[in-house]
Symmetry: C2
Subunit: 357 residues, 2 copies
DNA sequence: TTGTATGCGTTATCAA
DNA sequence: TTGATAACGCATACAA
């Protein structure tokens, strides 16, 4: 660690100008300044308006959002709770949220819980103290009661990707049923006769639950076409058992000369499985086993992995719009917006791949 | 999009309790409540304290940070400007920032400019209006003047990863010179006799500039050992020319029976190059050409790519600490904290890889 | 068209 | 040990 020799800017720390300063500088009252700021420009004489503009420019005045919010009762802050920014899904949703916020004049207060349930609670509390006008929640273990305090306080809540048991509120996410069906049928169409659906513990996370159920619902009828499947639950913190189970299934299928495909329920699972396959089968693991997943991460193209791309950007945008409508006073029943996923077919599941049927 | 049938929670929208409500409920004055909130617990009679606690619990009172901030002049908000959350580097730095903020009682106000220079400006303005106490900046095109308004206003600024021309302020980042030297020497040690350093346009981004210079400074002396190298500039928005140049170099090297390695200056570049190599050489591109990079992204392990891992978490933590010290009133010259990177050797650059010398 | 006075929820100053 | 009261920076009802 080096020290630079130049000193910091001298302690000329000038206090930021307030509306009072501007009023004095412009030789008028605070009200006029306030009017100018709020665009009530028609009621101001051109002459006064000019003086105000000059004063603002000269003092580099910026209205204090805090004070503003205190007075009008809304500060344009929207809370965004994210379970895991490490998951590209979250980042992409965030982009949509940011864009929509910008367009509608909100400022997202982003809280990243880093997969810690306790953090989620703390952040939600914090959002409360900052008096956000609404919250968008993509959490892991937040329970209904916690969110109810928002709803009850008149703070609209929008859920992203996963619903929360016992809570009836706006929610937006992937149409999981359709997405899983799409993917599963694709695998069947490509000639795979056995599909292993790999998912994290799903009791408590609705999207995982729905995806798993959708998988079983889709694979069931496919038995008529000779296609079967089963679910493997993987705990990313202790993946060994699940990975061993996958290996066993793969081996058995190979013995019976079957064609098996692995279907990861999301990107983190896919990555973990891919790493394992690479370890077990070497660099050309993709020649040996077919892997697909929900979530189109940046490395999917590199790995040539078929995926279902989520409409992440739109999910984020929609979430903000839902919030905005409530904030504008719309009263209506809770809504559910399920957006369709898009199948991105790559080499991993193409008929000519794998042991080249 | 479906409509759920349950209505939203009834419009019982109860206003959040204020300090006045609590005072009334506890049968005392606001001052005592304020004292309790600020931990001046010693000056309160146990009896009164209990009543206050009860009132707070009953009303589920949460002090309004906005009002607090307005009064005390500091709101515990720290601005964090990120050029690109799509880059895992940023997310990791963010994790460090969040952890440190939490530990020190700050709330990070995260602004994601999504690689748009204009957004950076707008967000910086916004941060100003929210009266953040300090800012951490990892931007693309922010210029000195813009940041000066913060410094001059007494708002400390900490730069992350890249410095800004003409601005003397605290800065935290990777020790680029050491990292590039480490990586380059590793390549030489592994028997590569030619290294192509691939970097985005670097005039305006200090870290890229420094890395490029460090590469040349390191590769120069290695000529004695028969190792040469050159730089290729890649524009991710229009990568074709650079990729063609890479191909040409690769072909030439192969003709001369040389062993060439590609060295990407960061993860986004590495991904782009890897995608291209896969396209050109097929799924086993890694058998054909050696690629390494700065930044240890999640797919690096999957691709078996050697990298230099940045101490991202510590960078974020350190940035907040720098800020905190200034906010606590420490006056000192601008500091520069350069943290060491860690070489993560994988198959891509091992001697036995590639055309197996 | 402009300005005065009051209050948003909190903390700080002062007096009791 | 406690409690009025006056700000903080701004927006609004109201008066001029």
């Amino acid at each position: 660690m080096h020290e630079a020799q130049h000193p910091m800017t001298p302690p000329s720390a000038t206090r930021r100008a307030t509306i009072t300063d501007v009023a004095r500088e412009a030789g008028t009252g605070k009200t006029s300044i306030s009017r100018y700021l709020n665009g009530e420009t028609s009621v101001l004489s051109p002459e006064l308006r000019e003086r105000i503009e000059a004063a603002i420019a000269k003092l580099d005045y910026r209205p204090n959002q805090m004070a503003r919010g205190l007075k009008r009762g809304r500060n344009r802050l929207i809370g965004m709770l994210l379970a895991d920014l490490t998951n590209p899904y979250s980042v992409e949703v965030l982009q949509g949220v940011e864009a929509a916020c910008h367009a509608l004049g909100y400022m997202p207060l982003i809280c990243h819980a880093a997969n810690e349930i306790d953090m989620e609670r703390r952040y939600l509390q914090l959002l409360t103290t900052y008096r956000v006008e609404g919250v968008i929640v993509n959490a892991l273990g937040v329970k209904e009661e916690l969110l109810q305090t928002f709803s009850r306080g008149g703070i609209p809540v929008v859920l992203v990707d996963r619903s929360v048991e016992g809570l009836v509120t706006d929610m937006v996410g992937l149409d999981n049923v359709a997405a899983v069906a799409l993917a599963t049928r694709h695998l069947a169409d490509q000639g795979f006769d056995e599909v292993l659906f790999i998912v994290q513990p799903f009791r408590r996370v609705s999207s995982r639950r729905v995806r798993e159920a959708a998988f079983r619902d889709t694979i069931g009828p496919l038995a008529a076409r000779g296609v079967s499947g089963s679910t493997i639950v993987i705990d990313l913190a202790d993946a060994a058992p699940a990975l061993a189970a996958i290996d066993a299934n793969l081996d058995a299928s190979r013995l019976g000369a079957g064609r098996m495909a692995l279907f990861a329920a999301n990107a983190p699972v896919a990555l973990r499985v891919a790493l394992h396959l690479k370890e077990r089968y070497g660099a050309d693991w993709q020649q040996r086993v077919a892997l697909m997943s929900i979530d189109d991460s940046e490395w999917a193209e590199l790995a040539g992995m078929t995926t279902v791309r989520q409409p992440t950007y739109d999910i984020g945008r929609r979430a903000v719009e839902f919030l905005h409508e409530r904030l504008e006073g719309a009263r209506m029943p809770a809504r559910e917006c399920l957006l369709p996923g898009e199948l991105v077919v790559r080499a991993s599941t193409r008929r000519d791949n794998s042991q080249g049927i």
